[in-house]
Symmetry: C2
Amino acid sequence: MNYEERDAYGMYKIASADGAGPDDHHGPGPHLMGADTLIGNDVFNADGEDLGDIKEIMLDMRSGRVSYAVLSFGGFLGMGEKLFAVPWAALKLDTENKRFTLNVNQQQLEGAPGFDKNHWPDMADTTWERRIHAFYGTLPHSDTPSV
Amino acid sequence: MNYEERDAYGMYKIASADGAGPDDHHGPGPHLMGADTLIGNDVFNADGEDLGDIKEIMLDMRSGRVSYAVLSFGGFLGMGEKLFAVPWAALKLDTENKRFTLNVNQQQLEGAPGFDKNHWPDMADTTWERRIHAFYGTLPHSDTPSV
Protein backbone atom coordinates (compact mmCIF):
# COMPACT_ATOMS: atom_id res chain seq x y z
CA MET A 1 0.00 0.00 0.00
CA ASN A 2 1.14 3.51 -0.61
CA TYR A 3 0.16 6.85 0.85
CA GLU A 4 -2.47 7.66 -1.77
CA GLU A 5 -4.27 4.40 -1.08
CA ARG A 6 -4.05 5.03 2.65
CA ASP A 7 -5.53 8.50 2.41
CA ALA A 8 -8.47 8.32 4.83
CA TYR A 9 -8.84 12.09 4.94
CA GLY A 10 -9.00 12.83 1.25
CA MET A 11 -5.87 14.90 0.90
CA TYR A 12 -4.68 13.15 -2.26
CA LYS A 13 -8.13 12.83 -3.74
CA ILE A 14 -8.35 14.31 -7.20
CA ALA A 15 -11.07 16.91 -6.99
CA SER A 16 -13.67 16.91 -9.74
CA ALA A 17 -16.43 18.91 -8.09
CA ASP A 18 -17.54 20.52 -11.34
CA GLY A 19 -18.06 17.16 -13.02
CA ALA A 20 -15.49 18.07 -15.66
CA GLY A 21 -13.09 15.35 -14.60
CA PRO A 22 -10.06 15.47 -12.36
CA ASP A 23 -8.33 18.81 -12.06
CA ASP A 24 -4.64 19.27 -11.35
CA HIS A 25 -5.02 19.75 -7.61
CA HIS A 26 -3.53 16.76 -5.81
CA GLY A 27 -3.74 17.74 -2.19
CA PRO A 28 -1.78 19.85 0.21
CA GLY A 29 1.24 20.30 -2.05
CA PRO A 30 4.33 18.32 -2.96
CA HIS A 31 6.25 19.06 0.23
CA LEU A 32 3.65 18.46 2.89
CA MET A 33 2.70 14.86 3.57
CA GLY A 34 0.33 13.37 6.11
CA ALA A 35 2.00 11.23 8.78
CA ASP A 36 -0.92 8.81 8.83
CA THR A 37 -0.61 8.23 5.09
CA LEU A 38 3.17 7.72 5.32
CA ILE A 39 2.86 5.11 8.06
CA GLY A 40 2.61 1.73 6.35
CA ASN A 41 4.72 2.79 3.38
CA ASP A 42 7.32 0.37 2.07
CA VAL A 43 11.03 1.01 2.34
CA PHE A 44 13.46 -0.15 -0.34
CA ASN A 45 17.07 0.59 -1.09
CA ALA A 46 18.34 1.88 -4.42
CA ASP A 47 19.06 -1.71 -5.54
CA GLY A 48 15.40 -2.61 -5.08
CA GLU A 49 15.86 -4.69 -1.92
CA ASP A 50 12.79 -4.71 0.32
CA LEU A 51 13.70 -3.30 3.76
CA GLY A 52 10.27 -3.56 5.37
CA ASP A 53 7.73 -0.88 6.13
CA ILE A 54 7.18 2.14 8.35
CA LYS A 55 5.20 1.48 11.54
CA GLU A 56 5.49 4.79 13.33
CA ILE A 57 6.93 8.28 12.94
CA MET A 58 8.50 9.80 16.05
CA LEU A 59 8.04 13.51 16.61
CA ASP A 60 10.20 15.63 18.90
CA MET A 61 7.60 17.58 20.86
CA ARG A 62 10.09 20.26 21.97
CA SER A 63 11.55 21.19 18.61
CA GLY A 64 8.62 20.28 16.36
CA ARG A 65 10.92 18.18 14.22
CA VAL A 66 10.49 14.69 12.86
CA SER A 67 13.12 12.57 14.59
CA TYR A 68 12.79 8.96 13.44
CA ALA A 69 10.73 6.60 11.41
CA VAL A 70 10.21 3.22 13.05
CA LEU A 71 10.91 0.56 10.45
CA SER A 72 9.75 -3.03 10.81
CA PHE A 73 11.90 -5.63 9.07
CA GLY A 74 12.00 -9.40 9.22
CA GLY A 75 9.63 -11.83 10.83
CA PHE A 76 6.40 -13.24 9.50
CA LEU A 77 2.86 -12.17 10.37
CA GLY A 78 4.21 -10.00 13.16
CA MET A 79 6.24 -12.82 14.74
CA GLY A 80 9.97 -12.28 14.99
CA GLU A 81 9.79 -8.82 13.50
CA LYS A 82 12.42 -6.36 14.63
CA LEU A 83 11.97 -2.61 14.85
CA PHE A 84 14.56 -0.01 13.87
CA ALA A 85 14.57 3.69 14.61
CA VAL A 86 15.82 5.24 11.39
CA PRO A 87 16.77 8.94 11.45
CA TRP A 88 14.30 10.87 9.33
CA ALA A 89 17.19 12.44 7.39
CA ALA A 90 18.32 8.95 6.25
CA LEU A 91 14.98 8.31 4.49
CA LYS A 92 14.12 9.75 1.12
CA LEU A 93 10.58 9.74 -0.19
CA ASP A 94 10.45 8.22 -3.67
CA THR A 95 7.35 9.96 -5.00
CA GLU A 96 7.48 8.06 -8.29
CA ASN A 97 7.22 4.64 -6.64
CA LYS A 98 5.37 6.03 -3.60
CA ARG A 99 7.74 4.49 -1.09
CA PHE A 100 10.79 5.41 0.96
CA THR A 101 14.39 4.81 -0.06
CA LEU A 102 17.01 3.99 2.57
CA ASN A 103 20.67 3.61 1.72
CA VAL A 104 21.44 0.31 3.50
CA ASN A 105 21.21 -3.30 2.35
CA GLN A 106 19.37 -6.15 4.07
CA GLN A 107 22.56 -7.56 5.57
CA GLN A 108 23.50 -4.20 7.10
CA LEU A 109 19.99 -3.80 8.45
CA GLU A 110 20.20 -7.18 10.15
CA GLY A 111 23.19 -5.82 12.07
CA ALA A 112 21.60 -2.44 12.78
CA PRO A 113 20.69 -1.37 16.33
CA GLY A 114 17.09 -2.46 16.77
CA PHE A 115 14.53 -3.43 19.38
CA ASP A 116 11.37 -5.44 19.78
CA LYS A 117 7.98 -3.82 20.19
CA ASN A 118 7.73 -4.52 23.90
CA HIS A 119 11.09 -2.99 24.71
CA TRP A 120 11.43 0.45 23.25
CA PRO A 121 14.74 2.24 23.82
CA ASP A 122 14.97 5.45 25.78
CA MET A 123 15.27 7.78 22.80
CA ALA A 124 16.27 10.70 25.04
CA ASP A 125 19.53 8.87 25.82
CA THR A 126 22.23 10.73 23.88
CA THR A 127 24.46 7.62 23.77
CA TRP A 128 21.64 5.74 22.01
CA GLU A 129 21.02 8.74 19.74
CA ARG A 130 24.67 9.00 18.69
CA ARG A 131 24.87 5.26 18.00
CA ILE A 132 21.82 5.39 15.74
CA HIS A 133 23.00 8.43 13.81
CA ALA A 134 26.54 7.01 13.47
CA PHE A 135 25.06 3.85 11.92
CA TYR A 136 23.04 5.71 9.29
CA GLY A 137 25.57 8.52 8.77
CA THR A 138 23.25 11.31 9.85
CA LEU A 139 23.67 14.20 12.25
CA PRO A 140 22.00 13.96 15.69
CA HIS A 141 19.58 16.83 16.34
CA SER A 142 21.48 17.64 19.50
CA ASP A 143 24.54 18.40 17.33
CA THR A 144 22.58 20.66 15.01
CA PRO A 145 23.51 24.29 15.62
CA SER A 146 20.69 26.35 17.09
CA VAL A 147 19.68 29.72 15.69
CA MET B 1 -9.12 7.67 23.17
CA ASN B 2 -5.69 8.87 24.07
CA TYR B 3 -2.26 8.04 22.76
CA GLU B 4 -1.53 5.29 25.25
CA GLU B 5 -4.71 3.46 24.27
CA ARG B 6 -3.88 3.92 20.61
CA ASP B 7 -0.39 2.50 20.99
CA ALA B 8 -0.36 -0.31 18.39
CA TYR B 9 3.41 -0.61 18.49
CA GLY B 10 3.96 -0.94 22.20
CA MET B 11 5.92 2.21 22.83
CA TYR B 12 3.99 3.19 25.95
CA LYS B 13 3.70 -0.34 27.23
CA ILE B 14 4.98 -0.74 30.76
CA ALA B 15 7.71 -3.34 30.54
CA SER B 16 7.68 -6.08 33.17
CA ALA B 17 9.86 -8.67 31.49
CA ASP B 18 11.33 -9.89 34.77
CA GLY B 19 7.90 -10.61 36.23
CA ALA B 20 8.54 -8.15 39.04
CA GLY B 21 5.79 -5.81 37.93
CA PRO B 22 5.93 -2.67 35.86
CA ASP B 23 9.21 -0.83 35.84
CA ASP B 24 9.61 2.90 35.35
CA HIS B 25 10.28 2.72 31.64
CA HIS B 26 7.36 4.21 29.76
CA GLY B 27 8.55 4.21 26.19
CA PRO B 28 10.71 6.36 24.02
CA GLY B 29 10.95 9.26 26.45
CA PRO B 30 8.86 12.26 27.41
CA HIS B 31 9.74 14.37 24.37
CA LEU B 32 9.35 11.88 21.55
CA MET B 33 5.82 10.89 20.64
CA GLY B 34 4.53 8.64 17.90
CA ALA B 35 2.51 10.41 15.19
CA ASP B 36 0.17 7.44 14.86
CA THR B 37 -0.62 7.52 18.56
CA LEU B 38 -1.22 11.30 18.51
CA ILE B 39 -3.67 11.08 15.62
CA GLY B 40 -7.12 10.66 17.14
CA ASN B 41 -6.27 12.64 20.26
CA ASP B 42 -8.82 15.09 21.58
CA VAL B 43 -8.27 18.83 21.55
CA PHE B 44 -9.63 21.08 24.29
CA ASN B 45 -9.03 24.66 25.29
CA ALA B 46 -7.94 25.76 28.75
CA ASP B 47 -11.60 26.35 29.71
CA GLY B 48 -12.38 22.70 29.00
CA GLU B 49 -14.30 23.30 25.76
CA ASP B 50 -14.13 20.36 23.36
CA LEU B 51 -12.56 21.48 20.06
CA GLY B 52 -12.64 18.14 18.24
CA ASP B 53 -9.86 15.71 17.49
CA ILE B 54 -6.71 15.34 15.40
CA LYS B 55 -7.17 13.53 12.08
CA GLU B 56 -3.77 14.00 10.49
CA ILE B 57 -0.35 15.49 11.14
CA MET B 58 1.30 17.26 8.22
CA LEU B 59 5.05 16.91 7.84
CA ASP B 60 7.22 19.25 5.78
CA MET B 61 9.34 16.80 3.81
CA ARG B 62 12.01 19.39 2.96
CA SER B 63 12.72 20.69 6.44
CA GLY B 64 11.77 17.62 8.48
CA ARG B 65 9.50 19.77 10.63
CA VAL B 66 5.95 19.17 11.76
CA SER B 67 3.86 21.85 10.07
CA TYR B 68 0.22 21.39 11.01
CA ALA B 69 -2.20 19.16 12.79
CA VAL B 70 -5.47 18.66 10.96
CA LEU B 71 -8.28 19.15 13.43
CA SER B 72 -11.82 17.94 12.82
CA PHE B 73 -14.56 19.93 14.53
CA GLY B 74 -18.32 19.96 14.19
CA GLY B 75 -20.60 17.63 12.30
CA PHE B 76 -21.99 14.32 13.38
CA LEU B 77 -20.80 10.83 12.35
CA GLY B 78 -18.52 12.42 9.77
CA MET B 79 -21.32 14.47 8.17
CA GLY B 80 -20.85 18.23 8.16
CA GLU B 81 -17.48 18.02 9.84
CA LYS B 82 -15.02 20.74 9.00
CA LEU B 83 -11.25 20.39 8.94
CA PHE B 84 -8.78 22.97 10.20
CA ALA B 85 -5.03 23.11 9.67
CA VAL B 86 -3.68 24.21 13.02
CA PRO B 87 -0.01 25.24 13.22
CA TRP B 88 1.87 22.70 15.30
CA ALA B 89 3.27 25.50 17.47
CA ALA B 90 -0.30 26.49 18.48
CA LEU B 91 -0.95 23.07 20.02
CA LYS B 92 0.32 22.05 23.42
CA LEU B 93 0.33 18.44 24.53
CA ASP B 94 -1.38 18.07 27.91
CA THR B 95 0.37 14.95 29.15
CA GLU B 96 -1.70 14.85 32.33
CA ASN B 97 -5.03 14.61 30.49
CA LYS B 98 -3.43 12.97 27.44
CA ARG B 99 -4.89 15.43 24.98
CA PHE B 100 -3.93 18.61 23.17
CA THR B 101 -4.68 22.14 24.33
CA LEU B 102 -5.43 24.88 21.81
CA ASN B 103 -5.95 28.46 22.85
CA VAL B 104 -9.17 29.27 20.93
CA ASN B 105 -12.82 28.90 21.87
CA GLN B 106 -15.52 27.08 19.92
CA GLN B 107 -16.94 30.31 18.52
CA GLN B 108 -13.53 31.42 17.23
CA LEU B 109 -12.97 28.00 15.70
CA GLU B 110 -16.27 28.22 13.83
CA GLY B 111 -14.88 31.36 12.16
CA ALA B 112 -11.42 29.89 11.55
CA PRO B 113 -10.15 29.21 8.02
CA GLY B 114 -11.13 25.59 7.33
CA PHE B 115 -11.90 23.18 4.53
CA ASP B 116 -13.80 20.00 3.84
CA LYS B 117 -12.06 16.68 3.33
CA ASN B 118 -12.58 16.63 -0.42
CA HIS B 119 -11.09 20.08 -0.96
CA TRP B 120 -7.72 20.40 0.70
CA PRO B 121 -6.01 23.78 0.40
CA ASP B 122 -2.70 24.19 -1.37
CA MET B 123 -0.54 24.37 1.75
CA ALA B 124 2.46 25.56 -0.26
CA ASP B 125 0.59 28.81 -0.97
CA THR B 126 2.28 31.44 1.22
CA THR B 127 -0.88 33.59 1.29
CA TRP B 128 -2.77 30.64 2.78
CA GLU B 129 0.11 29.94 5.17
CA ARG B 130 0.21 33.54 6.43
CA ARG B 131 -3.55 33.62 6.92
CA ILE B 132 -3.48 30.45 9.02
CA HIS B 133 -0.57 31.59 11.17
CA ALA B 134 -2.09 35.07 11.64
CA PHE B 135 -5.29 33.44 12.93
CA TYR B 136 -3.51 31.32 15.54
CA GLY B 137 -0.81 33.88 16.36
CA THR B 138 2.09 31.67 15.30
CA LEU B 139 5.09 32.30 13.07
CA PRO B 140 5.07 30.84 9.54
CA HIS B 141 8.05 28.53 8.94
CA SER B 142 8.98 30.62 5.93
CA ASP B 143 9.52 33.56 8.32
CA THR B 144 11.69 31.53 10.65
CA PRO B 145 15.33 32.58 10.31
CA SER B 146 17.56 29.92 8.81
CA VAL B 147 20.84 28.90 10.37
